[in-house]
């Protein structure tokens, strides 16, 4: 792991020295490899290492701390800082508030819709789920089954492929029934599929959701930057949800997406149960990425 690799790099440095350019260079190569192994994007890693390198240079090597530990501390702090310093707010204002879930196929949108519905029901909000995935076989059945299991109503309409119309009717229903929050479950799509991205833009422009959450699998690889950039440019996403953290992916995609969009990670999910949803904690993610 990184600590051991750095211990090796610094084994000849004593408490009297200052971290020099040369020993920093070697240490940074270890940091670079550690982050790449965690699936952080190639360019993101270079930017990060450049920044951490600057912070380490000239740091006095403290007598009581191993230089390797000092570097790990700088890296960890910078990672945590990049992940986001305070707990991200979720915009639940609106009559009703609207959360729109977008992302690649299989990322966990539908499941997360149910988890969010359950979360906000627990906060005494009246929630309506809206089945806007008209493409995937049994997607509507899936959201309806999830809704039933948490006793949250689901608006669906199998008679039309018009997603904007379904969303409109869901909102009309929500208004007439005094709902506080509508969660739109959108179909999975490739960030490079212009027609499908256009569908999201139409929904956004018509209903102006207070939250547009990019749902991403924590095992996402180097495509994280392309995925996040495309969705963000098209929709100006308000946040990111990272899923499947119960797996052992280091989750470097989180750093890449956060760095390239500047948008906060708002929630993480770590299992298939409805309760497996938490507010995002930057510190935990930094440790995970570092391995």
């Amino acid at each position: 792991n990184l600590s051991d690799a750095l211990s090796n790099t610094f084994k000849t440095i004593t408490g009297k020295s200052v971290l020099t350019e040369n020993n920093i260079k070697e240490a940074m190569e270890q940091v670079r490899l550690a982050l790449l192994s965690a699936d952080v994007h190639y360019d993101t890693v270079n930017d990060f290492v450049g920044e951490v390198s600057r912070q380490c240079l000239g740091e006095k090597v403290l007598k009581s701390v191993k230089p390797s530990e000092q570097v790990v501390k700088v890296v960890h702090e910078e990672l945590t800082r990049l992940m986001g310093t305070e707990e991200a707010e979720v915009n639940t204002s609106g009559d009703p508030a609207i959360i729109m879930m977008v992302g690649l196929h299989g990322a966990g949108k539908t499941t997360t819709c149910a988890k969010l519905a359950n979360y906000y029901t627990g906060q005494k909000k009246k929630v309506l789920l809206a089945a806007c995935d008209v493409y995937r076989p049994a997607a509507i059945d899936q959201l309806e089954a999830l809704g039933q299991s948490i006793k949250v109503p689901v608006f669906s309409d199998r008679s039309t492929p018009d997603v904007v119309q379904i969303a409109q009717n869901a909102l009309n229903t929500a208004k007439s029934e005094g709902k506080d929050l509508v969660i739109l479950d959108m179909a999975g799509r490739l960030q490079i599929d212009e027609d499908m991205v256009q569908e999201l833009i139409r929904v956004k422009e018509r209903f102006n959701p207070g939250e547009i959450l990019l749902t991403a699998d924590s095992a996402l690889g180097q495509e994280a930057v392309s995925v996040a950039t495309h969705f963000d440019k098209a929709l100006n996403i308000t946040g990111i949800v990272l899923t499947k953290l119960d797996g052992d992916a280091r989750g470097g995609a989180a750093l890449s997406m956060r760095k390239v969009t500047g948008k906060p990670i708002k929630f993480i999910t770590s299992g298939e149960k409805v309760s497996d949803l938490e507010k995002f904690r930057p510190e935990g993610m930094a440790s995970r990425i570092l391995g």
């Binding site: 490899l33 790449l36 192994s37 699936d39 190639y42 690649l104 196929h105 299989g106 990322a107 966990g108 493409y135 995937r136 076989p137 049994a138 997607a139 059945d141 899936q142 309806e144 089954a145 999830l146 299991s149 490739l190 960030q191 490079i192 699998d217 095992a219 996402l220 690889g221 180097q222 495509e223 392309s226 995925v227 499947k244 119960d246 797996g247 052992d248 992916a249 280091r250 470097g252 995609a253 298939e272």
Partner: protein
């Protein structure tokens, strides 16, 4: 990229960037670069060569190694078991594969052994109806192994050419879920001792290095014999399979290129390697 006589550290850095960006991962990228440096040092590489061409041919040979065809049962139904992490594309690939086999004139039966996830059974049944293939299914929440047993018995009785068993997505970190897999294998073998004829690990083409861990752990739990890579119609290059192939000998049989029944192609190591650098 430059010819060998002008290769220097920046050439290798550029190659590294290309390979890492294609999700080959640090380990196999370093290995490929070290191999190329070694060949160059012992004079194996001509000075007129392009480093990209060299790297492409190295990758092709890793991918083409052990790429045997699908293992077909000659004395009864061929049983294919689909496994993998959540959302990888198992159910969709099951449908596409069934469609392709049907187009090839084979009789196919499907087994809905994801008895856990909401509407998983409905999803496979929907596929079955769409491509006109029967689906053996039970109630939501029933024992997946019991459904697998019934499906095998049915496949035997009807003497179908293929039975494809779809299972629930699971993270390899969940020991309890991974233990269900050998149980399903045991139950299949009651009717077909030689089965599954292929245990296909379905991997999402946009996954990073975690796919290598998936291959290792699923390999241990249920002896994976084949790989299918999905969602390669996306921007991902699926380079992680180079790392998987470098470490394991099982072949890559199929690639998924979309959500429709016909969006399944046989794996072609040449095209795959070329696409990494395109």
């Amino acid at each position: 990229f430059s010819n060998v006589e002008k290769w220097d550290e920046s050439t290798y850095r550029q190659l590294e960037a290309a390979l890492i960006s294609a999700d080959l991962g640090v380990s196999v990228t370093q290995k490929i670069i070290a191999d190329i440096k070694e060949s160059y040092a012992i004079g194996e590489i001509k000075t007129s060569e392009d480093i990209i061409n060299i790297a492409t041919s190295r990758i092709k040979s890793i991918l083409a190694d052990d790429n045997r065809p699908l293992n077909i049962n000659t004395t009864g139904p061929t049983i294919l078991l689909m496994v993998g992490v959540n959302g990888a594309g198992k159910t969709t690939t099951t449908g596409k594969l069934a469609y392709k086999l049907k187009q090839d004139g084979k009789s196919v039966l499907l087994a809905a052994c994801d008895t856990f996830r909401a509407a998983a059974i409905e999803q496979l049944k929907h596929w079955g109806q769409r491509i006109d293939v029967p689906v053996i299914a039970g109630k939501h929440g029933s024992d997946a192994a019991a459904i697998a047993y019934d499906a095998c018995a049915s496949a035997k009785a009807k003497n179908v050419d293929y039975l494809i068993i779809d299972t629930a997505g699971r993270q390899h970190t969940r020991q309890d879920l991974m233990e269900e897999l050998p149980k399903i294998l045991r139950v299949i073998r009651k009717n077909f001792p030689e089965a599954p004829h292929e245990t296909i690990l379905v991997v999402d083409g946009s996954t990073g290095t975690n796919a290598l861990f998936q291959a290792r752990e699923f390999g241990k739990a249920c002896d994976v014999t084949s790989l299918a890579v999905t969602k390669l119609d996306g921007s991902g290059k699926g380079g992680v399979v180079v790392a998987i192939k470098d470490e394991h000998t099982f072949p890559i049989h199929f690639v998924g290129l979309g959500e429709s029944p016909e969006d399944l192609q046989p794996f072609d190591p040449e095209l795959y390697a070329d696409a990494i650098f395109s």
